[in-house]
Symmetry: C2
Subunit: 354 residues, 2 copies
Amino acid sequence: MAEVVRNKQVIFKDYVNGYPTVSDMVVTSDATILLELPEDDGGLILVENLYFSCDPYMRNRMTKAMEGSYIDSFTHGSVPYSGYGVPRILDSSHPNFKKEDLVWGLVNWEEYGLIKDTSSIIKIQHTDVPLFYYRGILILIDFCNALGMPGMTAHVGFHKICSPKKGETMFVSSASGAVGQLAGQFAKLFGCYVVGSVGSQEKVDLLKNKFGFDEAFNYKKEQDLNIALNKYFPNGDIYFENVGGKMLDEVLRNMRLNGCIVVCGMISQYNLAQPESIHKLFLLVMKRIRMEGFIVFDHYHEYPKFIEMILPLIHEGNITYVEDITEGLENAPAALIGLNSGIYVGKQVVAIAH
Amino acid sequence: MAEVVRNKQVIFKDYVNGYPTVSDMVVTSDATILLELPEDDGGLILVENLYFSCDPYMRNRMTKAMEGSYIDSFTHGSVPYSGYGVPRILDSSHPNFKKEDLVWGLVNWEEYGLIKDTSSIIKIQHTDVPLFYYRGILILIDFCNALGMPGMTAHVGFHKICSPKKGETMFVSSASGAVGQLAGQFAKLFGCYVVGSVGSQEKVDLLKNKFGFDEAFNYKKEQDLNIALNKYFPNGDIYFENVGGKMLDEVLRNMRLNGCIVVCGMISQYNLAQPESIHKLFLLVMKRIRMEGFIVFDHYHEYPKFIEMILPLIHEGNITYVEDITEGLENAPAALIGLNSGIYVGKQVVAIAH
């Protein structure tokens, strides 16, 4: 007879204005779940969640009806928070997934869950995973990172949207973050000169010593971003935009003719009631700049090609990844909130079960 | 023996902040010119100017060292103003140009002039000109318009940068202006649904009745641009951007996923000390929008192809053009200043001699 267990969940309480806090979420063990699939369930999958990925885009789901949003806002007060994660399958009536399979995709922030829509999950092929590089269970974190959504985002942004050429210079903001660290490494491997901005000296060192960036600076210590950019990224070719706001205006001033700005995100703006003003957009004309936004969701059909590209890089030790792992579902809200404060170094991951 | 004559000129006095006025230029007849080429002149061309074209980009040349500018600022106080125009050749020692040839290109704002750099002028091939459509001398104005820089700009912006598809919707701001009226007509001929914004009811009527736009509105009469755009351009495909500022923010709100903004100019911003704030750029990500600036200068190598495309359209009466002709070089400063006030309808041209 199947066991009924308490199912710890992170519940989103209400829509947020300004900076979110841990009190916008509540961790509860009120719910219970039967650890067995119902009969005639039509292809349900029962999972135990192992890892959750904390990503900047999630802040936008906490805003009510964000204008033009690419993703639905959370329904407040009734359902668990959700995001990318790695669950293990406990039971499955779906022909393509079986018990003990590991998958990667969109899951609720809870210990156990039922997955109905398998279009949002991808089975992790164990044979693909570079065991010699990531030890034991740690391989799974990869799917919150280089092999998952952030890796695919960095790949699409750099290789597809930028149309880069060898020898070009690229500037990445929020460069030690989940996407930035990979975008920079892809650009280095491609043959670009790469500069990154981050918010601490520790992260500057990380970019230069661990990720192989050519230059890096701490934007919080620069009196004048224009001067800093003019020093590190004069007449630059590609801007991999992760932050928005004032940085964007100053980068526009320092780009070359026919440069490209790939707009991946604008994390500095997500918590502001009114986004910062941009004033230098006429430079798009003066400098014939292409500025293009993209969302990784649109490109998932190319995921197999991406995996083919990145696995050899990981196998050969050419891609590295730094993550900050928070232990325990009860600490997940704090991990998510911390994304905006810059206190974490590298990709933020929550481990629920090992 | 050659005649020495007075040479009326428009001299640019000093760099401008804010809105230029006629007093920023001075019309003088102090200079004289010998109406004969010097011996051993190395390929000089002596011209009499017939028409000048007044174009929004010229305002940017009146600003000292404009950041990232694609064109040199005027040298103040010493040389005549300059821009596109149609001169007739009075004398030439250049093998490719002869007396009585008509040319189109960059000329000084003066009655007579010497052209040294023939890379900036193009000979008008009389056989190409649609005489049956434009009567007599009026054909020359075409070279300030559809066949010249504005026409080429509209062509490059629409056909090359937008990558349009039949059936798409396009919104053009400053739509009765030199470039806007042609961009809209190119889009109609291509099979798009075209909406324009202008600053008066007279111009609205012009767009709908003369240029064949599907819809048009007077932005000065709209309480809320977002509501107007939502009515006329809901979920729009292409924005042909000529004005910048608040209109751009409101257009971003009304574009569809994967839309395109081709940035041709931002005339509403040229006279402001601080450009208006743009706040909605994150919609580039949300809606995966490509926003691309361009400058026609970069595309002049394709001018012969453009002429091949547009001449049949003009021959068949499929392209029309409205211009406002100011008579006399002494009125040229007022004509140029008037560009920003919206008082003129259609393309602004100055006729110096017939």
